[in-house]
Amino acid sequence: MTAANTSRRKPLIPARWAPYVFISPFFILFGAFGLFPLLFSIVLSFHQWDPVAGVAGMHWVGLDNFVYALTRDDWLRKAMFNTLWIALVSGIPQHLVALPLAWFLHRGFGRARNAVTGAYFLPFITSTVAISLVFSSLFSKDFGLVNAAFASLREVPVLGWLVPGQSIDWSQPGYTKWMISAVVFWRYVGWNTVLYMSAIQTIPVDLLEAAQIDGASARQRFLHIVLPLLKPMMFFAVTLSIIGNLQLFEEPFILTGGTGGIDQAGKTAAMHMYAVAFMDGDFGTASAIAWLLFMLIAGSTWINKRLLGGRR
């Protein structure tokens, strides 16, 4: 009925342009501050450029920037390794925790559900910088709370064996990535939980009740009904994690004081790109790195689509 209503009425002359005027702000802004910078960045990645000399200072170098970044930039290789390491170590537990947590929050809590969910979600909306600064104090070697917690856990039988024997210097290369991963996990686990909860809420209750009447246990219902129905959301949430984790910047940047830490053990690919551009002033190579990272993200997303993405 709505279709008949709208199609019969031929709009007046100015009204014909109204929709385009209404949507134009997005396209004008995206053109100027999205599309143009992107195209410029592609051009830049094939040039060597001294910004002081203006546009005239650009020299075409073909694929040199890419070749340099891939073959001779040892720090990039290290940063890529760090990025993948942190992405996996922080990303996989996020989903392993978030999915069952979402299910339990949905089923096991009554009125308290929103408050508890809020507690898990809160880190996601707080300023990364503020909270990373707080974390850098919690992770201090001699007075940090994390080490203090480990020290008291050491007194507990059995559990104590799992805890390192002495205070950890989290700024040492062997531990920096663990620290960053912990903060990233803390920040995003609630976001993933909420994503899964929103999908769980769309599962028809009668389906679960029917299974229950047929004698399916809670575990069977979770494994054979809930999980398969959540697959599209798993695909979506993992995609978001891949895109987010591979461009990780703020958390490691603040936690390592902007440097990447000792031996650059906590430097991610995006941080390396930032340093190449704004510290070294090599915008051409930085653009090449950006597109290499983009290809890595696109490739990972594609693999994820093959693994988890169904018909869509």
Binding site: T2, A3, T6, R9, P14, A18, P19, F22, I23, P25, F26, F33, G34, P37, L38, F40, S41, P51, F104, H106, R107, G108, R113, V116, T117, F121, L122, I125, T126, S127, T128, V129, A130, L133, V134, F135, S137, F143, L145, A148, W186, V194, S198, Q201, T202, P232, M233, I243, L246, Q247, E250, I254, G258, M273, A277, A286, S287, A290, L293, F294
Partner: protein, 296 residues
């Protein structure tokens, strides 16, 4: 009409409490205890941010660290202002940028959402798909070229280099289209059109007043995003007195003894507005942020 998908995504739409048998009750309580303990762990950093904000450096550096509030908040604030004389400016700039970005987003996104939801025009779905695609572009790719673009425009160090590019976000258009499609009665719009109202007046007089909840959600999301933005200011703002809050706080990190108390006091001030907002609006915020995910 296939596109309209009403509030199925809203949390709590379905009765979720299971019928609990007696033998399952033990497992349920254990599970609740674990989940609650986890929730407390999530809140620990916030707790210590506020506790440390009220302690002197030497107290924070003692072992074990303080667990409860102390009396040094005033000293820490003085220390903060001494190390960061521009602090109140930075706080003000953060509010200015966030409020301006939010206001522009509400205006432009509601306008575009109106067109996508209520008007028929050639290429509509193509345009909409283009808008949605931009959401998938990873932000880091814009870092270098944005800084250069802003410097060409002479917008380096200007707050408009943060406000203008973010004035009409794709997520906002998405939220507005969804809401307008599900909540605005078409008859009302048709009636206004029959009365000879121009399309802009229909939007302004008829549609916009009915968008309250969606505008609230979008305002929250935009404000928080702008308030927390770090990378944007990092590449375009140069001078301390132009910094927004995250950038200013970060400058406290430096060589020598870190002023933990002052830093936590500053962090607490940066986080407090969000905590207050979140306390009152968490459900709406969460459902707004996840709405896009469910639709996909």
């Amino acid at each position: 009409m296939s596109a309209a998908m009403p509030a199925a995504a809203m949390p709590g739409a379905l009765p979720a409490r299971p019928r609990v048998t007696r033998e399952r009750r033990g497992a349920l309580y254990l599970g609740r205890a674990v989940v609650l303990a986890g929730a407390l762990v999530m809140l620990v950093p916030f707790w210590f941010m506020f506790v440390f904000a009220t302690h002197s450096n030497s107290e924070i550096l003692s072992m074990p660290p303080p667990m409860w509030f102390g009396g040094s908040l005033g000293d820490n604030l003085r220390d903060l202002l001494e190390r960061l004389p521009t602090f109140w400016w930075n706080l003000g700039w953060s509010f200015y940028v966030a409020i301006a970005t939010t206001a522009l987003n509400l205006f432009f996104c509601a306008l575009a959402g109106h067109a996508f939801a209520l008007l028929d025009f050639a290429g509509k779905e193509r345009f909409y798909a283009a808008v949605m695609t931009t959401m998938l572009l990873p932000g880091f790719i814009f870092m270098v070229p944005t800084a250069l673009t802003m410097s060409w425009l002479g917008w380096t160090n200007e707050h408009r280099s943060l406000i203008v590019p973010g004035a009409c976000g794709a997520l906002g258009i998405f939220l507005m289209r969804q809401y307008i499609e599900s909540a605005i009665p078409r008859d009302l719009v048709e009636a206004a059109r029959l009365d000879g109202c121009s399309e802009f007046m229909i939007w302004w007089r008829v549609v916009l007043p009915l968008l309250g909840p969606a505008l609230g959600t979008l305002a929250l999301i935009t404000f928080i995003g702008s308030w927390n933005n770090f990378i944007g200011p990092l590449v375009v703002l140069r001078d301390m007195d132009r910094y927004t809050l995250p950038l200013a706080l970060r400058s406290l990190q430096g060589s020598g003894q870190t002023p933990w108390g002052a830093m936590c006091a500053g962090a607490a001030i940066a986080v407090l507005p969000l905590l207050v907002l979140f306390a009152f609006t968490s459900r709406r915020l969460i459902s707004g942020l996840t709405a896009g995910a469910v639709k996909h």
